[in-house]
């Protein structure tokens, strides 16, 4: 299909709202239609409008609460029809009065609930999270981009609640496991004695996935958000989560995973740890400290359990020129930071950072940015990248990424974070990336060491 035959249409649906993940799925489905050269279905936020203008569309005056359907195709009518068909499958019909859905967390909390999971755009997450805290409910804030004063305020208000378990997990809390239920991006883990307090979602996923491989399960994984141990927030949630796990009869050992806390917060946390009856293993991501894989091994030794070989699948021998530089394309910030430390590379991009996720889905769901980055590599590059499995993540990351790996000029090393219980099938994913020419490791630290060895 050449562009000359393509026609263009931009429709504005006033006051129609869908979340960005749904809209991304619809956009992707339209783009896959024959004869469609460009398609984007998105809320008319400033960012989306500017992306559409860059794509050459003329966008009329809109409001961020409007839905935009922009298509360039040989048959725009068919494309718009498909967009509507897809959108209506996501939109429930006007419900019977008794089934009217609640419109706020405050309203939803009138029905019995134990926990609130907030994943609205970050600038709107505060209202929903505060509703939860005021209703005396623990809350996991998956959203990122919440101003730090709001985080601090939520965590202080939670401490004022009479119930001792009003825990504020997040913002930017990617994963949690509570009572065997995975929230956000969560691997399928066997039940067991290890409780996790994590200021890093992918750090927790790495440690718990390796533990699972070693046959050791978790009691709970409580995320607290990447900023919790900063001086501004003061570790309020980490300290509460430690106490909750200490009181939990199923937890025999606690792992505390975080970036290095600010010195005064570190002191407060150490004091809190000192008051616990449950032993604590720390995984602090800093030079000289054990990496996530070593921390996992310490946990196993502390429990008196054997440390296995971590599975890996070496690449098929290829005829690439000698590698000169290591680049990292990461979805998990902590995994990227660990890779940077071990591989000694400064060229590690965290695609899960706010800067890349404003107005678009997380790279664990949306592979587009990393597919593009792979295409722009050199044949003298070694690319380190993580592929994270589990609930909430891309249902088949290999489907889009393995193809991009196969076409990439660079040598690719994949850190595959997941368990054999995950819905994506760990072994099938490993095989797909290996067939695409990548070396695959379940330990990110080992993947980074392997990458360095290729230089």
């Amino acid at each position: 299909m050449n562009d000359a035959a393509a026609r263009e249409v931009v429709l504005v649906r006033r006051g129609t709202y869908h979340d960005s993940v749904t809209l991304m799925r619809v956009s992707r489905a339209l783009s896959d239609m024959p004869g469609v050269t460009a398609a984007m279905v998105a809320m008319a936020t400033d960012l989306n409008v500017s992306i559409l203008r860059e794509l050459g569309f003329t966008i009329p005056e809109t409001d961020p609460g409007d839905l935009l359907i922009a298509v360039r195709a040989s048959d725009t009518e068919a494309a718009v029809e498909e967009a509507d068909r897809q959108l209506t499958t996501f939109q429930r019909a006007d419900p019977a009065p008794e089934h009217q859905p609640p419109l706020t967390t405050r309203s939803a909390a009138r029905t019995p609930a134990d926990l609130v999971l907030v994943s609205t755009p970050g600038e709107h997450a505060f209202a929903e999270a505060l509703d939860a805290v005021e209703a005396g409910l623990p809350v996991m804030i998956f959203s990122d981009g919440m101003p730090v004063w709001q985080e601090r305020l939520l965590k202080e208000r939670a401490l004022l609640q009479r119930a001792g378990d009003v825990l504020v997990m997040g913002p930017d809390c990617g994963t949690a496991v509570i009572g065997g239920v995975g929230l956000g991006f969560a691997n399928v883990l066997r039940p067991g004695p290890v409780g996790v307090v994590a200021a890093s979602g992918t750090g927790a996923q790495q440690v718990t996935s390796l533990l699972d491989w070693a046959g050791t399960g978790v009691s709970h994984v409580l995320g607290v958000g990447g900023r919790d141990l900063s001086a501004e927030v003061g570790g309020l949630s980490a300290m509460r989560a430690l106490r909750m796990l200490d009181d939990d009869p199923a937890t025999e050992l606690i792992v505390l995973i975080s970036k290095p806390p600010s010195p005064e917060v570190a002191r407060a946390v150490e004091e809190a740890v000192g008051r616990l009856r449950t032993p604590v293993v720390r995984a602090m991501l800093q030079e000289g400290a054990p990496d996530l894989t070593e921390a996992t091994e310490r946990v196993l030794r502390a429990l008196g359990r054997p440390v296995p070989e971590w599975p890996s699948w070496p690449s098929w021998p290829g005829g690439r020129p000698a590698a000169k530089a290591i680049k990292g394309f990461y979805a998990g910030g902590t995994l990227g930071a660990e890779a940077a430390m071990i591989a000694g590379s400064r060229d590690i991009v965290d695609y899960g950072d706010d800067a890349y996720t404003r107005g678009r889905a997380h790279p664990m769901i949306d592979p587009a940015l990393r597919v593009e980055a792979l295409a722009h590599t050199q044949d003298t590059d070694v690319v380190l990248m993580d592929v994270v499995l589990g609930h909430g993540a891309d249902p088949d990351p290999a489907a889009s990424l393995a193809h991009a790996v196969a076409r990439a000029p660079a040598t690719v090393v994949v850190a595959l974070i997941g368990t054999e219980g995950d819905p994506q099938d760990l072994h099938r994913q490993a095989a797909a990336f290996r067939e695409a020419g990548a070396a695959v490791f379940t330990s990110n630290a080992q993947a980074a060491r392997h990458a360095r060895s290729l230089l």
Partner: protein, 462 residues
């Protein structure tokens, strides 16, 4: 039960994908149908929600609203409570220049009634020249339906809140059709008003002295269970009031009793004005709580729709009044309709009227729709209100309390505007009522109140 003791039941708000992931694990979820807040409110919302006073302030304000115990204690001639040379009117402040047809018509009628002008032209000139001071009813502890014009020789219901001690007033209802409150000022209108001044007012005053205070909270609660929503349907409440008053009217004014009782019996809306005063005294009890985002008044003057908020004192926040959507009398149609007018939205402000529609299946056809629409309307109002009224209950919803106490923050968050039932006045002065229906308040009245509230909050620590 604590968080870690069992698999959690989860409220999910945001990306549907994460709700799907929980359902895939057989976890029971309550998904929130979240959507972004009204445009331009995100920052103000965060500031208002973060205000440490808000939660307690709203609890206090709404508990004062729902605990009020309005009692009808008497009727009084307006000249006893009104400053000389002043007329009251519905809604936020308005000038003659900006006044709509029915408002002008009612003001002209009041001039004629008071003998301040010989004819309508003279009355219009005097009003245009500022010969009379025009003030909102709301600023004088008063409410008035439609044009809401109160002049000295009109009589007012006097309602006292036995819980908090406030007092509120509302004019006496003239009936339907060609009446002053809808902007009519013909001879039959003035004649009726004179009869109300000379006969009805004194008879009711004497009767109420005999009965002592009548408990309107309990009367309203009963009327709701008899199919009234207390704004567009007052048939049950009027009957109940008539039952209470009849013996005393007969005793107190034997000569006029038949006339008085026949007049009340002939007007299904006779109770509306007493109910409005009850709503006014209840919402006034919730005023002036610093930090509260509770709406304490919604009122229209035929040009602007205005809102007042507990934490913001007497300030009005306005937007253009909309034209109601409804059914029309006789040959009238939407082209004859004036924009929304009247203080009767005080009923919705207190959790009655449109908010209690589910209690009133009989009126849903009149305001367009099916019984399920009425139930849906009431249910949706729980999304923007702070409480469920402990005494005003809806049998069809399992005796759930009516949604009471609108929160401007919840309006901005959900984009849901209060459901308002209303009568429709003719656009041209002198016409009278042309229909009844539903009207949508302007969003900016609520969002501008929210922005002002945000401006009044001291900086959250940053």
């Amino acid at each position: 039960m604590t968080l870690l003791s069992a698999p959690p039941r989860v409220v999910t708000v945001g990306a549907g994908l994460l709700d799907d992931a929980l359902r895939a694990q057989a976890v029971p979820t309550v998904p929130v149908a979240w959507r972004p807040p009204l445009p331009g409110t995100a920052e103000a919302l965060a500031r208002v929600l973060a205000d440490p006073r808000r939660h307690a302030a709203n609890e206090l304000a709404v508990s004062r609203l729902t605990s009020a115990r309005p009692h009808l204690v008497g009727v009084r001639r307006a000249s006893e409570v009104l400053a000389e040379g002043t007329f009251l009117h519905a809604g936020p402040p308005i000038t003659w220049e900006r006044a709509s047809g029915p408002m002008r018509g009612a003001l002209i009628g009041a001039m004629l009634l008071e003998g301040l002008a010989g004819d309508e032209h003279e009355a219009g000139r005097a009003l245009a020249a500022g010969g009379v001071t025009l003030r909102p009813c709301h600023e004088h502890a008063t409410v008035g339906p439609m044009a809401g014009v109160v002049s000295p020789s009109m009589w007012l219901f006097e309602v006292r809140d036995e819980e908090h001690g406030g007092t509120a007033y509302c004019s006496l209802n003239e009936g339907l059709g060609k009446v002053l409150r809808y902007g009519a000022y013909g001879p039959e209108v003035l004649e009726r008003l004179r009869w109300m001044d000379e006969v009805l007012g004194p008879a009711l005053a004497a009767a109420l002295e005999r009965t002592g205070p009548l408990d309107l909270r309990s009367l309203i609660a009963q009327a709701l269970q008899m199919g009234d929503e207390l704004h567009n349907r007052n048939r049950a409440a009027t009957s109940l009031l008539l039952r209470e008053l009849a013996p005393a009217v007969v005793e107190a004014a034997p000569g006029a009793a038949a006339q008085v009782l026949r007049f009340i019996n002939g007007n299904d809306h006779f109770f509306l004005n007493a109910g409005m005063a009850a709503a006014k005294v209840s919402t006034d009890a919730a005023r002036d709580v610093p930090g509260s985002s509770l709406v304490v008044a919604m009122a229209r003057n035929g040009t602007d729709f205005g809102v007042q908020v507990s934490g913001l004192g007497g300030r009005w926040f306005t937007g253009p009044a909309g034209v109601p959507d409804g059914l029309y009398l006789g040959a009238y149609g939407p082209g004859d309709a004036n924009p929304d007018i009247g203080d009767s939205t005080i009923t919705e402000t207190s959790g009655l009227g449109g908010f209690a529609m589910a209690a009133s299946p009989a009126i849903v056809r009149f305001v367009g729709g099916e019984v399920s629409d009425a139930v849906r309307a009431t249910r949706s109002m729980y999304e923007i209100t702070l409480a469920e009224h402990p005494a005003y209950q809806i049998p069809g919803l399992g005796f759930r309390g009516t949604p009471a106490g609108i929160d401007v923050a919840l309006v901005a968050r959900t984009g849901l505007l209060p459901v308002v039932n209303t009568g429709i006045a003719g656009r041209v002065a002198g016409t009278g009522q042309v229909g009844a229906g539903l009207v949508k308040p302007p969003a900016e009245a609520f969002t501008s109140a929210l922005l002002a509230l945000a401006g009044s909050v001291s900086d959250p620590f940053e």
